[in-house]
Every structure is written in C-alpha cells, then in structure tokens.
C-alpha cells in the first residue's frame, strides 16, 4: 500500500523534526539533519514537504491536536468544577512532559519562527483550547475553588505549567501528575 507507506514516512519525518526542533531549535536545525534522522537524502525530504516551514506547521498541529484531545478525554464525564480543574491541569502536564512528546513543546517555544501568514489553522486550534481552559477556570472561580480574574489565572496557570519544560527532569522525584497537584495545592483556596 503506497499511500500508507508514504504516510508512515511522513509521520516519521514529523516526529524526527519535532525532536530536533525541540533540542536545537527550528532555525538551527537543517533539512539535512531531519532527512538523516530517518535515513533519507536531503533532497528527498521535499517529496514529502513543500518546504521547511511546512514541516514546522505539521509538528505544531500534531502537538496542538494531541493536547486538545487529551484535555477533552480527561474532562469527559466530569462535572464538579474542582475535579475538572484538576483533570485539566494533569492532562496538560502529562501531554507536555510525557515521552516522545516534543511537538507541543515546539508549538509553545517556536512561535516566532512561524510567519504570521502561516499560523491560520494553528491559531484556531489554540483559541479553542484556551476557551476550554477559560471555561474550566471560570467555573472554578465561581465555585470558590480559586481566586482572581479568570483570564489572568488562566494565563498564569498555563505559564507555570508550560515553563516546567525548562526545569523538569524525568528522573526527579515528582511525576507530571504530582506536579499538577502541587500547583493546585498552591493556588486553590
């Protein structure tokens, strides 16, 4: 089956690119690096992607989609505001810090590498995700679980969680789930 073979190769390239973009950054990663990581010649990469930027977009879309799906799954069936808040915090950190999950990190830290014209679809996905956060936090504030302006609390919370990428080590004492609970412990009333 040629189609699925080609799809497989394309996915391998996207995953290899995510890892390299995370490690060295987008600008410092060459198309030769990416091709070599999956055993291709550099020219062959352009059979799968029109240009380097298209690879970045694919990586970021994977990350955003994965994260949104994890959040939706975690919230599914929950109605208590406090439980929903906890589930969302956990899901976010788990998708961000889990294994082989560089794509979301690339989305977060390579915004400036993507020209504004190329952000269309991504902005939409991101807005939807932030809407989910806004709702969950807003409900938590209304229920008296946390204190503050929901928009500001949302930004600070996502910031604190997203920044864990800078210091979190898998061999440390706390799991992503533990960390989410620790943060909740600090901000809940």
């Amino acid at each position: 089956m040629t189609i699925s073979d080609s799809e497989n190769r394309r996915n391998k390239l996207i995953r290899a690119a995510a890892s390299l973009f995370h490690e060295k950054g987008y600008a410092a990663t060459t198309v030769r690096d990416i091709a070599r990581a999956v055993g291709l010649q550099s020219g062959s990469l352009f059979y799968h992607f029109r240009n380097k930027e298209e690879i970045l977009v694919a990586v970021m879309q994977n990350g955003m989609r994965r994260t949104s799906e994890a959040a939706a799954a975690a919230l599914d069936g929950l109605s208590d505001p406090s439980e929903r808040l906890r589930a969302l915090f956990r899901a976010h950190l788990e998708t961000l810090l889990g294994d082989l999950q560089d794509d979301m990190i690339v989305l977060l830290y390579e915004q400036r590498s993507l020209p504004i014209e190329a952000r269309g679809e991504l902005v939409k996905l991101r807005d939807e995700y932030e809407q989910v956060w806004q709702q969950v936090i807003s409900d938590a504030v209304d229920a008296g679980v946390v204190r503050g302006d929901p928009g500001v609390v949302r930004r600070f919370s996502l910031g604190a969680l997203n920044w864990t990428v800078q210091w979190y080590r898998k061999d440390g004492p706390l799991s992503p789930t533990d960390l989410a609970d620790e943060f909740l412990n600090t901000i809940t009333i």
Copy 2:
C-alpha cells in the same frame, strides 16, 4: 577618549543584538543584522567580539545582572515576609516587561543556543538569583503567606512570571506591577 568610545559602541551592539535575538531568535539573527543595526560593516563587528557566541553571552550577562540588581534594590530594607514577596514579584516583572529590556528575555529563552561550556559565569549568577527567590518564598511559607513546597512554588512562580513575555502587551489594561499583584492575589492564603 578612545576606550569609552569603544565601550559605547560595544554597548550599542549588545543592545541591538538583544533586540534582534528577542525578535527573531539567536540562530536566525546574522552578524550582518547586528552590524547593520548600528551602522557598521559585518567584518567590523569582530573588532568588538571574538565571535557571535560572545555577543550572546554579553547580552545574557547584562540581563541577569540587571535583574539581580533590581531585586536586591527592591528587597533592601524590607523585613516582613509578605512585603518581601510582593517586592520580589514586582521587581522581576518590571525588569522583564519594561522598555528596551530584551536582554533578560534572551537569557530566558535562548538557553539551548549557548553551549554548556560557555555557561559558566551565567550559571553562577542565575543560581545566586534563584537563591534569593528560594529564601524569600521559604520565609513566606513559614510565615503562612503561601502554601506548598518552597522549591516547587519558586519554580511555578518564576514560570508564570517568565511566561508573561509570551502574551503581555504594553497597551493592555494591566501594568507589570498590577500583574504581579494579581498573581500574588491568586497564590496567597
């Protein structure tokens, strides 16, 4: 005075580089970009710096030093744990989000662009700064102002503040000082 003229030129280059590194990233900024920003030929830049990396180090050291000094000045004379916590939060956000202050942002967001061998002095400065934070937060926890493990609270707090770079707009409704207070309002008991 030739020495101070040369110092001036060097400082102008560092400031221009900080702005460009912030805007486009270190790898995507060329030495020609930096030279052009202060009206030099690209070759002349290497009269002031041995190589591109040395410029990055200079930018980051400026940022770290500025931030440490602002924190020390803000804490000077304060002894109440709650007041010290507030002063530290405000000082950090004000130096991070103020005008023409790209150097600290570059320090925070370009870590991976600097080879480990070149980090020596920077790591020392950063450790000292984090020690200040650790102490202030630890005292605040002991005084019952915030809740949680001091190391984790420190990391989450700095993360939340550092991430404001991603979304803060100067023409928005909140000043850096307001933002610091908002965050404190959410995490203090």
